[in-house]
């Protein structure tokens, strides 16, 4: 299995989860210890209450002796519902009632006020010495004063509620991390489907280097391609209907003028041929541009193909073979699609002948450049403006003012470029000292 990149969300997610686990364990251990310590000693207020009881007992002993102690113990027991005795240094009861055996047992293990509370489930017994240091009040801790009274509540908070709260917090954090960018993506997708072709995901998501950034990049690419295609098709439709109007209006006028049947028939045939060619070329361009078919590649002998194209071109234009020389090395063989390459070169050749004077020359040249063949077809026409070297590849572009001649629709070079790109080739134009040069780059065999 291949590891995801170092910017992957995986690392952030696992990092956050690991941090969460560490936090939980340390909370459990550290806070647990704190809680135990906090509930193991008596707080100062409790100590004061207990010391006050001792002082009260001492006062009762000093003023009324055993009877006073009896009265004090009765009051204390009634008030706090606890076990309490007052004893001397030899652990003999100072009240009128002597200690029972079980009470004597209890006196063996007494806790100091500042000491620990001992076993969590037991009720600790404290001794509170009088000011003479001999006699003391011994009593169990009243339930209401126990620091462990809320211990169960604290434990529930610490071990159940706190982890749950932390988990919720982590969930919110993850949600924000993952869902916020997705919400932006969703927003743009909705905008796109509502017809806003310029909808793109902003840089705060698109520039992320994780999977969400990749997704945003893919979305932007898709939206861009969609916008290009739709713009292209709208433009094409507009141009196409505009172009169709010309032959149609010529036909309408001819029909209204009621020429001779034979003349009308010839005109009809000519205009229908024009419209057929226009539609066939437009469909071809749309097919190449939108379907992007994969054309099967094969070795093509370019010089040989030029011979075939030249024969046709000479027949169509009335040029002689000598006006279309091939200056390619004999071994020029490229990897292309025969029919596609033939169509591209034929369109370029027709274009070159159309923009040349009748006694001009159009030559094919080329040289090998590494794994490619760089071919060129150059004419001796007037060339095009530097700013229009790219425009001529747009559909329905006709630079009539700059280049004489031009009965085409301006689709030839657009088709040539599309079909060459589908064969992994390139097509671009450059002005030479004399005329225009169309450059082709194709893979060598």
């Amino acid at each position: 299995m291949r590891l995801p990149s170092r910017y992957s969300l995986l690392w952030r997610l696992t990092g956050m989860l690991a941090l969460f686990c560490l936090l939980l364990v340390s909370l459990h251990v550290d806070l647990g210890r704190l809680l135990i310590r906090a509930t193991s000693y008596l707080p100062a207020s409790t100590k004061t209450i207990l010391t006050d009881y001792a002082r009260e007992a001492e006062a009762a002993w000093q003023t009324e002796g055993a009877r006073g102690v009896d009265g004090f113990l009765l009051r204390l027991r009634a008030r706090e519902q606890i076990w309490a005795v007052v004893v001397d240094g030899q652990r003999q009861s100072l009240s009128s009632r002597p200690l029972e055996e079980s009470e004597r047992q209890r006196l063996r293990f007494l806790r100091q006020l500042d000491g620990q509370m001992g076993r969590p489930d037991g009720t600790p017994t404290f001794e509170l010495p009088f000011s003479d240091g001999e006699n003391r009040l011994v009593m169990t801790l009243p339930e209401r004063l126990s620091p462990r009274k809320y211990r169960e509540l604290w434990e529930a908070l610490l071990y159940r509620v706190l982890p749950a709260l932390l988990a919720v917090l982590l969930g919110i954090l993850l949600y924000r991390l993952l869902i916020a960018p997705l919400a932006i993506l969703r927003h743009q997708a909705v905008a796109l489907s509502a017809g806003d072709l310029a909808a793109r995901v902003g840089p705060q998501v698109a520039q992320r280097r994780d999977e969400l950034g990749d997704l945003a990049g893919a979305f932007n690419h898709m939206a861009g391609r969609l916008e290009d295609t739709l713009t292209f098709q709208r433009q094409l439709l507009r141009d196409l209907s505009h172009e169709l109007r010309t032959p149609l209006s010529r036909l309408r006028v001819a029909g209204e003028q009621a020429e001779e049947v034979q003349v009308l028939g010839q005109r009809l045939e000519r205009e229908v041929a024009t419209m057929e060619r226009l539609i066939a070329d437009s469909l071809e361009l749309v097919w190449l541009d939108t379907e992007r078919p994969s054309l099967p590649l094969e070795p093509v002998d370019v010089g040989h193909l030029w011979d075939v194209l030249r024969e046709n071109a000479c027949f169509e234009s009335g040029w002689s073979t000598e006006q279309l020389p091939c200056e390619l090395p004999a071994d020029c063989c490229v990897l292309g699609n025969l029919n596609g390459l033939a169509q591209a070169m034929e369109n370029i050749l027709r274009n070159a002948i159309r923009h040349s004077s009748a006694d001009g020359m159009v030559r094919l040249g080329g040289r090998r450049e590494g794994a490619c063949w760089h071919l060129w077809i150059e004419d001796q026409g007037p060339g095009v403006e530097a700013g229009e070297l790219e425009t001529i590849f747009q559909p329905f572009t006709r630079l009539n003012a700059a280049r004489p001649g031009g009965d085409g629709f301006g689709l030839g070079l657009a088709i040539a470029r599309s079909t060459l790109r589908l064969q992994g080739g390139e097509l671009w134009a450059e002005n030479r000292a004399l005329g225009l040069r169309l450059n082709l780059r194709l893979q060598s065999v």
Binding site: V272, E276, A280, L283, W287, E291, P293, H304, L305, D307, V308, E311, F315, L338, N339, A342, Q343
Partner: protein, 235 residues
């Protein structure tokens, strides 16, 4: 091509546009064919399987069953040649049509002249396949090597490929007769002809070079514009 002694050729035309269908019928009957019309795919399929036709001309977009389905059904039991017509025009449909066994494809709009050429090419190929091979015209200089698919002049081989050999052989049998591109595609390359297909032109160009290469002067392949190619005897 047609002689009065031969039984009349029957064509089934399946086309849903009544105007185009009646033009087709008039034109084909004018060319001497017996034409049966059908306006939908189901009826077309029924007629094609119950009666004997020499060729079926069929639109792709039809009411009932579409042309490609009919073709598929038909091909499971019949070998009758089928020419598909369609305004779909896309390469996809063209390829789909061929892969299901259509013999040719005519994109709409087409001229009636073009249609005649395609029909003739297919009927001629079928006639060729049925007939005993006529002996090739004997020649004293160019030697045809049937097994090796090559020709030789005075012991020097031209180095033709099998496709080039079939094209040259076909032209040779019809010396001084212009053969249409659709027929050459049907007979020598065994497939329909499409407008942008350059394979035949490349083969012809190679044949010219190779014949020139071995110094053959007896005949040369001429281009007959708007029709096809012809092997013309020189001198």
């Amino acid at each position: 091509m047609l002689h009065a002694t031969q039984p009349i050729t029957r064509i089934l035309a399946v086309e849903d546009d009544p105007l185009l269908a009646s033009h087709l019928q008039t034109h084909l009957q004018g060319s001497g064919y017996d034409v049966t019309l059908s306006h939908d795919g189901d009826e077309g399929l029924r007629l094609a399987t119950s009666e004997q036709f020499d060729l079926i001309l069929m639109d792709i977009l039809l009411p009932g069953r579409n042309g490609l389905e009919v073709l598929q059904q038909l091909r499971s039991k019949h070998g009758v040649p089928v020419v598909l017509m369609s305004a779909l025009g896309g390469e996809q449909n063209r390829i789909a049509g061929f892969s299901q066994g259509a013999d040719d494809y005519l994109p709409k709009p087409f001229s009636l002249g073009e249609l005649s050429v395609r029909i003739e090419a297919i009927l001629r190929r079928v006639a060729y396949e049925r007939r005993e091979q006529a002996p090739r015209e004997s020649t004293d200089d160019l030697h045809f090597d049937e097994m090796g698919c090559d020709v030789a002049l005075a012991g020097t081989s031209a180095g033709l490929t099998p496709s080039e050999y079939r094209v040259l052989e076909l032209l040779w049998r019809h010396m001084d007769e212009a053969l249409s591109k659709p027929f050459l595609y049907q007979q020598a390359l065994r497939r329909g002809y499409a407008q942008h297909d350059r394979s035949l032109d490349m083969h012809i160009s190679q044949i010219r070079r190779k014949l020139q290469g071995i110094g053959y002067q007896g005949a040369r392949v001429e281009t007959v514009w708007g029709k096809g190619y012809m092997l013309a005897r020189l001198g």
